[in-house]
Structure formats: C-alpha cells, structure tokens
Symmetry: C2
Subunit: 383 residues, 2 copies
Amino acid sequence: MDIKEKSLQLHQEWNGKIEIKSKVKVQSKSDLALVYTPGVAESCMAIKEDPTLVYQLTSKNNLVAVISDGTAVLGLGDIGPLAALPVMEGKCVLFKEFAGINAIPIVLNTKDAKEIIETIERIAPTFGGINLEDISAPRCFEIEEELKKRLSIPVFHDDQHGTAIACYAALKNALRLVKKNIKSVQIVINGAGSAGVAIAKLLLEIGAKNLIICDKQGILFGGDPNLNPFQKELAEKTNPTGCKGTLLEALEGADVFIGVSAGNIVSEAMIRSMNSDAIVFAMANPTPEISREKAIHAGARVYGAGLSNEPNQINNALVFPGIFKGALETRVSNITMEMKIAAATAISDIISDAELHEQHIIPDIFDSRVTEAIVKAIKTLAK
Amino acid sequence: MDIKEKSLQLHQEWNGKIEIKSKVKVQSKSDLALVYTPGVAESCMAIKEDPTLVYQLTSKNNLVAVISDGTAVLGLGDIGPLAALPVMEGKCVLFKEFAGINAIPIVLNTKDAKEIIETIERIAPTFGGINLEDISAPRCFEIEEELKKRLSIPVFHDDQHGTAIACYAALKNALRLVKKNIKSVQIVINGAGSAGVAIAKLLLEIGAKNLIICDKQGILFGGDPNLNPFQKELAEKTNPTGCKGTLLEALEGADVFIGVSAGNIVSEAMIRSMNSDAIVFAMANPTPEISREKAIHAGARVYGAGLSNEPNQINNALVFPGIFKGALETRVSNITMEMKIAAATAISDIISDAELHEQHIIPDIFDSRVTEAIVKAIKTLAK
C-alpha cells in the first residue's frame, strides 16, 4: 500500500485526529459544584474584575486556533473549508506533539477578506493565539495585517512566516558553509505568493541587497502594472538593476535559488548557469522545482527541499511550534520581525561548524532542541 | 474553605479545564507523512469529491461548539466573553464526562444578533453541532431561529430547550404522582426569558390549555404593548381568559408553579393560595424563588429546583449530553420539537411507578441511563 492509500485508511480508522480531553473528573454533585455552577461563578467574577486572570483560570493561555478558508491548501489549491479540515487537524496534532500546545481547527465558509477578518476578530477572545493557514495570496497579507492591528493576541500566517523563518535559517547556514555573505550574494526567489513575499521581506530585513523575485509572468520590476500592491511594494525594494525577463535569465550567475512555486519548472541547464557553489532550495510541495539528483548533477553544492524524505528539509513544521510556544509563554501581543529573525538564527545556530555540511544545513524536524531554542530566543526579546 | 473559594483555587491549579489531545503519535518522518503532508492530501481530495466523508475522516462528527457572547451567564448577567469562558469550559467538561462528546468553547466579542449569526454561520463547517449558551433574551430566540434556517448541523440553545425538556420531564412525573392531567391543570410560569418562553412553547405543544406566564410587569396578556415579539406570540397562545394582574393573583388556585426568574420572590402565602397537591418548581439559580422548606411548609406536595444540593434537581445537565449525542450519532440537521418531547418522555420514563415519590420525580444527573435513553429516543425518531 502506498503512502496515500495508507494515510486515507488511517484517517478512516482515526475518525478525527484530535479530541478534547477534560482535565477534571466530574463524578459527584460536589465535583459538579466546583467545576460548574455555583462554584465556577467565582472564576467568572474574578475575570470580570481583572481580565488578565483569564490566562490563569481558563485554557486561553495555551489555546491556538488554526484558521483556514480552504483556498490554498497544500498544493491542492482552493478545495474549500470541509476538504481543508484534515490538514488543519494535522496541524493541530503537530502543535500538540511538537510543543504541547492545544490547537483547534476553525474552517470558514467565506473567502471574503473583510468577512474573514471580522469573524476572527469576533471569536478571538477564546484563544491565546491565531495561526492563519492555507489562505491564498494576496488576501492573506491583508487579513494578517489587519488582524495584527485589531487583536491583542499574536496572529501568525504560518505559510508566510514559518516558511520564511525556516528558509532563512537554512540559507544562513548554507552561506556559512560556502563562505558567502548575504549582503553580496545574488538571490532569486521564484513564486510571489504568500511564502515568496514573506521570504523576500525577511531577507531584505537581514540585509540582502541583490534580490530578484520571479512569478509566472517573469521577473518582478518596479512599475509593472500587473502586480498586486504587496508584490508592487516588493518589486520596488528588490531588483536593484531593474532587469526584466524570465526565471531562466534571472538565474544566470545567481548564487541562491529559492523556489516556492511549482514542481519541475527548473532545468539542469538553469542550475548550470548559476554561480559556483550554488545553493538551491526547491521548496514546492509535493513536487520540488527540481529534484536533488538533478540539481546536484547540474553542479549545485547545497540542496534543500520542503519534503520530508530529503536531507535539509526546509519546512515550517520546524518553526511554528516554537514560535507559538514562545509567544504564548511570554504573552506577547505580536510576533515581530525581530522575533522572526531571532527564531531563524536560533535554528541555524543549533548546527555547529563541526556538524555543518552540504546535507546538514538545518536541524531535523524531530530535533527537540529546535522548539526550545526558538522559545528561548523569543523570551530574550520579550523581556 | 467554602465552595466558592475552593472552586477558584482549583481553577487556578487546573489552569484551564480542557485540553486538546492528539489521537495519533508523530515520532518519525513516516508518521508525519501519514498524519500531515503528503499523505493527508488523499483525505482532503476524498472530502472534496464527497463532502459527507468529512464525518469519517475528521473530528467534525463528534465536535460541538459551545458558543456564548457572555450576556446572560448563570445568574451573573452580562459579564462579557472573557468572564464567560470558565462556564463555557465547564460545559465542555460536562459534554465530555457525561456523553463522550468533544466540545470547545467559543466566546464572542459582539452582542449584535446579526453579527453573532454571521459569525457562527462562517465557522460552522468545523463542527458537528452548535450549542448556544448564556445568550440573553430576546436575541437568543432570533439567533437560534435564523441559524436553524441557515445551517445543516443541529443548533440548540440549551438555556431554552435543555431547561424546557428537563422541566417537562419532571412535570410529567409530578402529574403522574398527583394524578392530574396536563390538559386540565392550571400552570403558572414566572419569567418570560429564554427558559420561560421555551418551557411555555413545549407545554403548549404537549397539550397544556390553562397556562399563564408572568414576567416582571405581571401576567402576560394578548395586546400588551410592552412585550417583545416572542413574548407577544406566547401571550396570544396562553392566558385563555385574558386575565391581568400580578404573580400573586396568577398563583391563586394554580396547580403548578414553574419559576425561571429570581431568588426569593415567592412567599409561603402565595404557595398556600395554590390548589391542593401543588407542584412547585423553583428553578432560579443560585437562589430559588422559594426554598424547599418554605414551599413544603406552605403545603406544596412536590418541590423541585435547579440546584444540585436538592432532591428533584431539574437541570439542563440532564438533557444536553444525550440530546447532542443522539443528534450527532444520527446526524440529524435539526433537533425538532418531536425530539425534544421524546427526550423528555424518555427521561421521565426512567422512573417506574414503584420508584416514583415526592422526592424522586426526575432521575439524578449522574444516572447513566439518562443519556442513553435520550439517544435511543432520538434514534427512533431519526429513522
């Protein structure tokens, strides 16, 4: 049985991958009077007096909503809220297994950005944090930006920032390995969706100067009338020479390729045209932009992908458990750019110079040091 | 330490009464590939093909949202969403402990009926059922009615129907005991809020003819300009002689008093004015309309209350676990009036003629037969 069949069969057996557990037993009327009425009224009134007590007296302190409208689910596209539910539940499983965080899926039957914002704002009092998931670009940018303004709990669109943090952590170590500097390397990002935009913003923030972003229509340049406002903003900050053309042209002489686009769109010839010691991150799911074998054969020195059957797995699963654990434990109202950079640095620093090699630029997802390192980094900043 | 202090202290220790549990372990990359990407995509696509599979492949089949805007919490009134959270979590504990149902609190930071309806409609794909809780009247009627129209999953405002079902179950047995008929007894309901309106509707449905509803302003009568539309509708269907006056006047010669109002508002003299074999349900929380001692002293034959330290506890906790378990297992889209009546009958039928006496007209909350009896009743109707 292949992995797809086996997964489907297991999902049928599981009949839901998460459940709610009561932390207290109710076996007598005196239990009931403590857990529920009349005893519970005392906690209600305490919170009414001092709303911050909600973090002590309820589950809010460790409860994250994993929210999606089902418009950009895995590589499957706009499959709707019901069909998105298995992924959101899977994410909740990872929250619990990797960081001990209680997470619950909420799938929405609206695709309207304004309605999504309103809905999340209205249910927010329940939660300690909001993980936006698999919401298509460019709506995802607007939704996250607006919610960050409106809510006092952290809002994190994992497809953007989780991916960007993992990518920068891997890139930092890859550059350490090939002894190149982020400020001077030529970086090409292919895919100007949620992940691509977030990666570009993060790399600009940490000092990348020579950054080119491509999308289906080719290289993004300032003044291109076909861009959405988020791409437009980026086009003006990247592509310093204002070059136009295709991905093929962009890659000539480039040091780094970061793919967050679609399977099999990069050829060996394109890799061959890159600079020596080329770094290739082919992060498309489930099929990378170019396979490890082909990329290495064509001369890439470092290769990373999003898939779990590869070394150098660059995946947001490495990031979000620690990010949320840190944010919940420090009760920050916002996950700032500083925290994202600190998280990426914490991940890359786990790999010592002695451990660093071409097939080990980023820790394994199951490396328990990762979550704790991110939590520590956030705590330092939140002080 | 009294119950209030002890409950508050326990709430601090619990730090949240519920948690999310993962039903699957993720300890290796092959686990990850089955639980999450790429394997999970197969379940997503299966649901996209056939949306009913969401009940097999996700937790939706057994997941209830306990939703409140915090406007009518216990006897505490409008304390807001955060302060309502301990009660909603408590309810989720009872769902799990009494019926094995996964329930999650959702508290809303809006009191606008239209916004509440919209919000619940948008998050509904996540859940197998919606338990509305502690939403003040008359908005609760409008919200529930509209959601029932819009959603294909059951919506149940427990403060209304849970209370009404428990009340009718108790009344049915009390009438059996005193050998009076629902069609001929004179019934007075005090309190025309969510519970009072629902009890009245249910009693009318099962054949009560001589029913008077009182609220703060006195007896409800057809044509009273001060009523909300829901009270108005009821005023026209009750009070057949069109009498006006106070609760005091309404109770003269009455067979049954049902209080869902406020503590200590019924005197011994009022009970004395009732018919012989008077039935008194003083269900206000946390202080009943009249105490057991006083009511019995004044000549009431049967006394029931909402509190857990009394015999004859008439409480919705007896009802909602079975109602939702039955609704989820049969996947009905609506909890109908027929089902509510069947549930009440199932509860009262648990007590045999031999067991029936003045202090035992309704089963104990911890009687495990109750939930199963309700489930069976709903299954019979859902066929």
